[in-house]
Symmetry: D2
Subunit: 97 residues, 4 copies
Amino acid sequence: MLDFCVVPLGVGVSVSTYVAECQRVLVERGLSHQMHPYGTVVEGEWDEVMGALRECHERVHAMGAPRISTSLRLGTRVDREQSMQDKLSSVERLLKA
Amino acid sequence: MLDFCVVPLGVGVSVSTYVAECQRVLVERGLSHQMHPYGTVVEGEWDEVMGALRECHERVHAMGAPRISTSLRLGTRVDREQSMQDKLSSVERLLKA
Amino acid sequence: MLDFCVVPLGVGVSVSTYVAECQRVLVERGLSHQMHPYGTVVEGEWDEVMGALRECHERVHAMGAPRISTSLRLGTRVDREQSMQDKLSSVERLLKA
Amino acid sequence: MLDFCVVPLGVGVSVSTYVAECQRVLVERGLSHQMHPYGTVVEGEWDEVMGALRECHERVHAMGAPRISTSLRLGTRVDREQSMQDKLSSVERLLKA
């Protein structure tokens, strides 16, 4: 699972067109993802997720951003499968209890 | 706007009880927030948001975690107001266009 | 212990003048810190460290950046004291062993 | 340029053996890198850097950590070459001026 927030430099303060382009990459590649107000969470195998991240950087550069600084959280686990929805549900169950 | 993901160390692999406790802090303090699969986004004035973050750390330590490593993104802007919903809406408009 | 990387938006691709200003904040406040190629690590009590971070944001805005997106790692522990040098030394001992 | 901090879960509070193993990966692969108190900065081409990151995760799992949460900053630029030392030097020049 990867949570990333792409910050293009040298293109002004509005970054929504670049964020939208990254969303398109995830849709085109058929990756399960969820946008939130300060980034996007995507889940999948390592190569799939990292390939998508790389294409995001390439497209944002191609759109005119000379420099990008992306902040990420990368979670891997080998003990069991856990989807994005599983993670949210386990917290929500505790909050309702 | 602050996006944070609290990772307690020394308490095993399941962190959902700690995440739930942090959600309670935000609710108790009446802060606008949104949980996602790899963190929580909260918006408000600096002191409000940082006070809540500090209480999260204090409570997670009090629950038994000897060590915490939190990853954060902190966004401030002085040009205009922009809510969490505004940020999402501006991207969604572009995706529909 | 806090590791932070301030990214000003809307001021071009060169961020070194803003990073230098943040270094001055840490020096003026007498906080123990260490700059590295992708951020700065600072150690101290919560209020000291967060006060310095806030002044960094305020000064970078005052220098003309309308928007800032900062990426942070925040580590707290209640089991024992550990300085920045302690952390490095414990890894270096293992590498030499 | 990549700054990363691997946090293994489910293996106690001491993470230095895991950090040391990641250092060994970088040395074995001949990648230019610099450890600091809250992570490690590495520079190189995308595939080299991401391949090393992946091997770090694989080895830390193999050492017994069922779950890993890594915090990263990833910087790419297409306007010019800039090494880790260049970044530090440009700030240091400003501080001395």
